[in-house]
Symmetry: C2
Subunit: 187 residues, 2 copies
């Protein structure tokens, strides 16, 4: 049982170091990325879309060249536990999702996905065991074409100095930078 | 010269593996995270805000416990090259930014921040050398208090099956899931 270039045990270790715990979503995400990579052509340059903010972005960042900081991973909070990997140039690719129709045999995974138990009712050991047993049997895959506007890199345009805070900012953002327009900080 | 728990050379290697290249923003980001961590109390649980999508989120993810997938890192695309680390419970913390007033002595870094050169005009070697020499001398730090609504985790609420795509989704999103309302894919 391999997760891209790791053994399953190695992957759990990598997840723990990066994510802080062997969270079910990141472990299932490992199988999802593995399945997706096996269904795109070798050697292409690809981008990733993650349809949820929870857990799954970390599986993608750990197992593919796509990260938030390099811009190849785009998180679109659509509320589905799914990801897509697609060719940067053609926008063609695959989408992998947790298939609700395949969950009947896996009550712990189902309870996790549908939040049927509180975190104190969940047993981390039972769910980890089910995830390892289920592997990709709870997943489905489909071909997708990503809307061309989504992968596009938009240039920031010219950079100036914000007259209020004195920091560099894209002058297209306005007379002052976005943070001076509405700051996340008080005082 | 250390970047959190790495030597500078080790950090460059970690950046290359994760981010794909030793991009200036991630390398400067290493000094920024290092400076911020030294100015928050030891042993506190903290969240991170990154004020740009470019490069800097990867330095935070590599050097702190905060990642996109575990929700402790929030990317707010405010267009400033800055980050904040703050106490999860009190919202008090520090903000580190590239100080435009300190850039006169560092022409390559200034050219990078203000996009004064095209990428073909930039010399990766000269900018890397300047970044290593400058270290934290191009940075400033300030105490901040994060608006309480920003760090708050909002529960997804109840999860149901989308009647259109058949996948799990937060029923608060509507009659059908957000992706069925406006899909990033065609066909």
């Amino acid at each position: 049982m391999h997760i891209v270039k790791h053994t399953f045990e190695e992957y759990l270790q990598v997840v723990k170091t990066f994510h802080g715990s062997e969270a079910p979503g990141v472990v299932i995400g490992g199988f999802m990325v593995d399945l997706a990579i096996r269904h795109i052509p070798d050697g292409i340059l690809y981008n990733a879309i993650c349809e949820t903010r929870s857990c799954l972005p970390d599986a993608i960042q750990l197992l593919t060249p796509c990260t938030i900081g390099n811009g190849w991973l785009k998180v679109m909070p659509l509320g589905r536990f799914a990801l897509a990997l697609y060719d940067k140039y053609t926008n063609e690719g695959v989408r992998v999702f947790v298939d609700t129709q395949k969950l009947e045999a896996w009550p712990e995974i189902k309870a996790w996905l549908f939040k049927l138990k509180t975190s104190s009712e969940q047993s981390p050991e039972s769910i980890a065991r089910e995830i390892a047993q289920a592997g990709e049997n709870i997943l489905s895959i489909q071909r997708i074409h990503v809307r061309p506007e989504i992968g596009k890199k938009i240039s920031k345009g010219q950079i100036g100095v914000c007259p209020r805070c004195g920091e560099a900012y894209p002058i297209n953002d306005g007379e002052v930078c976005l943070a001076c327009q509405e700051s996340p900080y008080t005082g």
